[in-house]
Symmetry: C2
Subunit: 669 residues, 2 copies
């Protein structure tokens, strides 16, 4: 076994450069995590200098290896590597670590131009994004690779910490990865035995090797400070292509810090001037300048870049030949990579589905998906073991499985959180507009991934069905109450709750066009009549809210969403009989409505009509903004109950009669 | 090995009774999950008739065995067993399965009087509650058991499904259970190979035995339809007391249904009249009456109850003797079981801590916990690997570990979701007012458990520190924005964001007194001055909001929470210089404020002062209710950023100067 990567001197020099870049940056910021980069520097060096394939001048190269620092708190490790490897990460950025408007925030933030493949920090997310990336890779490879044209043929490397592996999401994602045999994944588990509270032994006794064998992974163990052993293990892992690999690298946190190595103190605080001085002296490192990169190290990475360039260029010329040899496939490639959506998709879908017949909006969504799948090659998704209920399968399109990468329907399993992270990973990978599906109530299980999609501005869609108490018999554990307001409160998320089939089609069109953040569709279990009038009118959804019924004299504005729009229309008819003029507004998306100008908003909710009632079978939290000081909200201020949904509508006051009676009482007082 | 439990006839008769009670109830409701109870009836029968120790006349007996149906969708299995075992579950209730106001909702809802130990249905929760229960049991046993007095000496049985084990929370909880060696836990894994989308092979290939061995569990495999084998495996599991046990029971869903067994169709739909007829004929079961319980089966359970009664009575007389022998311990027992909190706890704590010195509210909370731990013997908790930051450790009280059950501080590990479920389990068990702790941002990881605590009305506390963008350098991944409104939207939850040390003490007192649902404390990372004036004034927190600064003429009401109260006071001073009269309201808890009468609410926010500004470094979602039609909200409508927190306060406009300028501009326009 070779004992060095290049030679002892160069190896030491480079590893120390990585360590002290991290140490100096954390010290300058007076904030951060020096211990992880110091502990991980040896194998990370081996990975980047011998294995990882990249082109810093073209960070978006589709066939690059992916590098994910799931242990995002060790962000300086990533920034140091990007700096050394020649990405657009000058030393000035390292010196601005954790400062306002720098590209070196406390935890890595997705920035594909800089080689930052995903946002990490919330533990378990990065390793789970990798699973989605590998799924996307598998499918793209199956779609595009041809004999002699391995367009997609790369690896996805992850550095994960004990925290990543303690989090439940790692179970969901790694179990799925094992099931699907995602052989491009190579995880380096930084097993440093230290967590924030102290030794991991305080809380964590898993036999990690056995756990991952149970998932069907290829498992190796190394001394994480033996660089050549790390390289050898990576080579072995790369040779195993039918299942994911994990390399358990025993490391020492803050390796090289004379008094703070192997201590929790080194996890999340600067080492301090004295410790740094001692560490640098121990390593024979100059105390000044800080952020020092020896010439040999610069040359080493330049040499590595030069080694890698021909591979990059070979790929580019292969791809040029591919365009000639497979023009149709190349055209599809462009469409998928561009995530192209036909500009008239809404009209095509609206003309192909029956918008008149009463249908649950989940069923309407199912019809739309069948059409959209034909029109948008990038579309791809599945459900967390609820496809028969969420209606998200594309019929006849097969299952995406280990042996069938061209199958469409993804079976995420009972793994909502893992699904959310995998969907994010698919979107990050490129080529796909992914969707996931579960019941709205279980959006709670995957909230951190929705937030990260919003933070990264990812084009993802989630189909959340069974969107209210009208789930019925399954009872309060399955009946969303606070989920709608809770999701609306997340920045950069569009929550759309369509009222009927036509609105559902428009909602999906909005979702397919919303490239800059997640779109969440809240869909009914129960049948709903066509309330929006005609399909053309349903396009009002694009403006967030629009008038669906009106009166000459408006005594009251009823603002409803989803299944409550038809109930509001029923109430409108009753009130009309009693001489009360109501306007019914369908407000499927607050976020879109808030984006409209004042004139439009005033045209929908007239400022001079102060009597307003919101009607939504959910927590009324957040509705005051629309109903105003004199308005009321008909909603749910308690949890639901188990009973047939029509009984619940009566008991909780969501029938047209009950709504009309409440409105009448409200107007009379 | 015995081949039967009682005799073949009785065994068959009882198992069929269980099956057909479930089948008939689902059919009558025309809704539900018949397949699971049918598949699980054999081993469940063995468990209840040979192992489980209970007294249906005293369902709260502290030393009863616990039975948790983690696979809550199979609720009719539980209801059938409770019916047969003599709990207050008459056949009329079974006939009202899934109907309005029945005690037999679609998924089991916590009802200790009926023997329903926890609410299940959202997968992975029940098995994770069991871990908390076993932790509580371990600690109570260590506190109270004496030679000859095994007051606490029972088991916690769980039936879990593939869905339970696919969910990430099961990883967190079962890993923790293995770490702590919680030997009272015996899980029966109903391995029926069927999930909603079809065969579990579609998504799930874990080697479950190996996975649980990796956690340090004792693992057995059985044919789940071999009743005597199940009983033998239970006996073996019960003999292993140093680690949790799992029995992997291979079963066939809808076992006994001639055409629907082993099908996904039997999972979540009634079998249908024809299939039921065929199944009953196959079993030699009368078609009528439905809900049939043979006399022999009634007698069998009566005999079992008679067998168990002496054990119950022996425990009661042992406990009576214990009261004599250990009066002080018995007194402590009563206090803990009653979860007694001194009525003057707030005053004691306020007088023992320094309310004047500037402190982060997380640090204030740490001081309060030290005091509360002396005053409330039921108090118990820990942190998800963030104790040095959440300040939740009780100093010098040791760590709760396998070998140290009397240690106080629980190390939940990096397992927020598992922590939430364990905390719920501890509260369900009795004797403890448990608390968990993590950063507010990571409340997202544990939302389903907060919701369940609210739904069950559990007395639990969560300490959520680092409660705003003022986390600073860690950046947007760690900076809560939407978490406050998202948590406020949950019914029956109190979210309290105190402004200083005195408010923090009152907030903790409220949390300790709020027996009917979770209290969530949102606490600052950064130091805050004493803004509430004096400790007596801080008691205004009990009413949700109160005036902290006032003016003779009120031009504007500034409503702030937490760290923004002192910023608002700063703005108040600046405005005063400019001749603008402001009132500053501290509103630490919207829910408590909403509970006050109109007169009080109007006295705090005068209806005639329409110029109102909310100031909270979080999403403004939900504030319209308080600031009204003419009001504005100073909040965060985007994600945060990585920078020192004072920089963020400037950039995002939360300095006194920036607030004053905004208010001035607002009043001028």
């Amino acid at each position: 076994m070779p004992e060095v990567i290049i030679d002892k001197h160069t190896d030491d020099l480079t590893v120390n450069t990585i360590k002290f870049l991290a140490v100096d940056a954390v010290q300058k910021a007076n904030s951060g995590h020096p211990g992880m980069p110091m502990g991980a520097a040896d194998y990370t060096y081996a990975l980047w200098i011998k294995h990882l394939r990249y082109n810093p001048k073209d960070p978006a190269w589709p066939n690059r290896d992916r590098f994910i620092l799931s242990a995002g708190h060790g962000s300086m490790l990533l920034y140091a590597m990007l700096h050394l490897a020649g990405y657009d990460m000058p030393v000035e950025e390292l010196q601005q670590f954790r400062q306002w408007c720098s590209h070196t925030p406390g935890h890595p933030e997705y920035d594909p131009k800089l080689g930052i493949e995903t946002t990490t920090g919330p533990l378990g997310q990065g390793i789970s994004n990798a699973v989605g990336m590998a799924m996307a890779q598998r499918r793209l490879a199956a779609l595009f690779n041809k004999p002699g044209y391995d367009l997609i043929d790369h690896r996805i490397y992850v550095i994960a910490s004990d925290g990543d592996l303690e989090e439940g999401i790692s179970h969901e994602a790694c179990s799925l990865a094992g099931h699907l045999g995602l052989g491009s994944i190579v995880v380096l588990y930084d097993d440093n035995h230290i967590s924030i509270e102290g030794d991991t032994e305080l809380a964590y006794s898993d036999n990690v090797a056995m756990r991952f064998e149970a998932y069907g992974w290829y498992v190796q163990k190394i001394d994480g400070h033996e660089r050549a052993a790390a390289s050898l293990a990576l080579t072995k892992a790369e040779a195993v292509t039918d299942r994911p690999s994990i390399i358990i690298a025993r490391t020492h946190i803050a390796n090289g810090a004379p008094t703070k190595h192997d201590t929790a103190a080194a996890h999340g605080e600067p080492l301090g001037e004295e410790e740094i001085k001692a560490a640098k002296q121990l390593a024979g490192w100059p105390l000044e300048p800080t952020f020092y990169v020896p010439r040999e190290v610069r040359e080493l990475f330049a040499k590595r870049a030069a080694e890698l360039l021909p591979q990059y260029e070979a790929w580019q010329s292969m791809f040029a030949q591919y365009r000639q040899a497979y023009p149709e496939q190349a055209d599809l490639w462009d469409k998928m990579m561009g995530k192209v959506v036909p500009s008239n998709i809404e009209d095509i879908i609206l003309s192909n589905i029956d918008c008149e017949k009463p249908a649950a909006t989940r069923a309407a969504s199912g019809m739309v998906i069948q059409e959209a799948a034909k029109l948008v090659p990038s579309l791809w998704g599945g459900s967390a073991d609820l496809a028969p209920s969420t209606k998200t399968d594309v019929k006849g399109a097969g299952d995406f499985e280990k042996e069938n990468p061209l199958g469409w329907n993804i079976h995420f399993g009972v793994r909502e959180h893992g699904m959310g992270a995998a969907v994010n990973g698919i979107a990050l990978y490129g080529g796909f507009i992914p969707y996931g599906a579960t019941f709205l109530i279980f959006s709670d299980y995957m909230r951190p991934t929705i937030r990260l999609a919003a933070l990264m501005g990812l084009h993802v869609v989630h189909v959340f069905t069974h969107d209210s108490i009208f789930v019925g018999e399954d009872g309060p554990t399955h009946e969303p109450i606070e989920q709608l307001p809770s999701l609306r409160a997340i920045p950069n998320v569009k929550v759309i709750r369509p009222a009927d089939t036509a609105e559902t089609a428009v909602a999906w069109a909005v979702a397919l066009e919303n490239t800059s953040g997640p779109t969440l569709l809240a869909l009914s279990r129960q049948n709903l009549p066509a309330s929006s009038g005609d399909p053309a009118k349903a396009k009002g959804l694009r403006r967030g809210a629009y008038v669906v019924r009106d009166s000459d004299k408006i005594d009251v504005v009823l603002i409803a969403t989803g299944s409550e729009v038809s109930a509001a229309i029923g109430a409108y008819e009753i009130l009309k009989q009693k001489g009360i003029g109501a306007r019914v507004v369908s407000m499927p998306c607050m976020e879109l409505f808030d984006e409209q100008d004042q004139a439009y908003r005033d045209s929908v909710i007239p400022p001079d009509v102060k009597k307003r009632v919101s009607i939504e079978a959910a927590s009324p939290f957040g509705w005051s903004k629309y109903v105003g000081d004199e308005g009321i909200s008909i909603g749910m201020t308690r949890f639901g109950a188990s009973a047939p949904y029509k009984v619940l509508a009566e008991k909780f006051g969501f029938t047209p009669e009950a709504i009309a009676a409440k409105v009448e009482h409200y107007l009379a007082n």
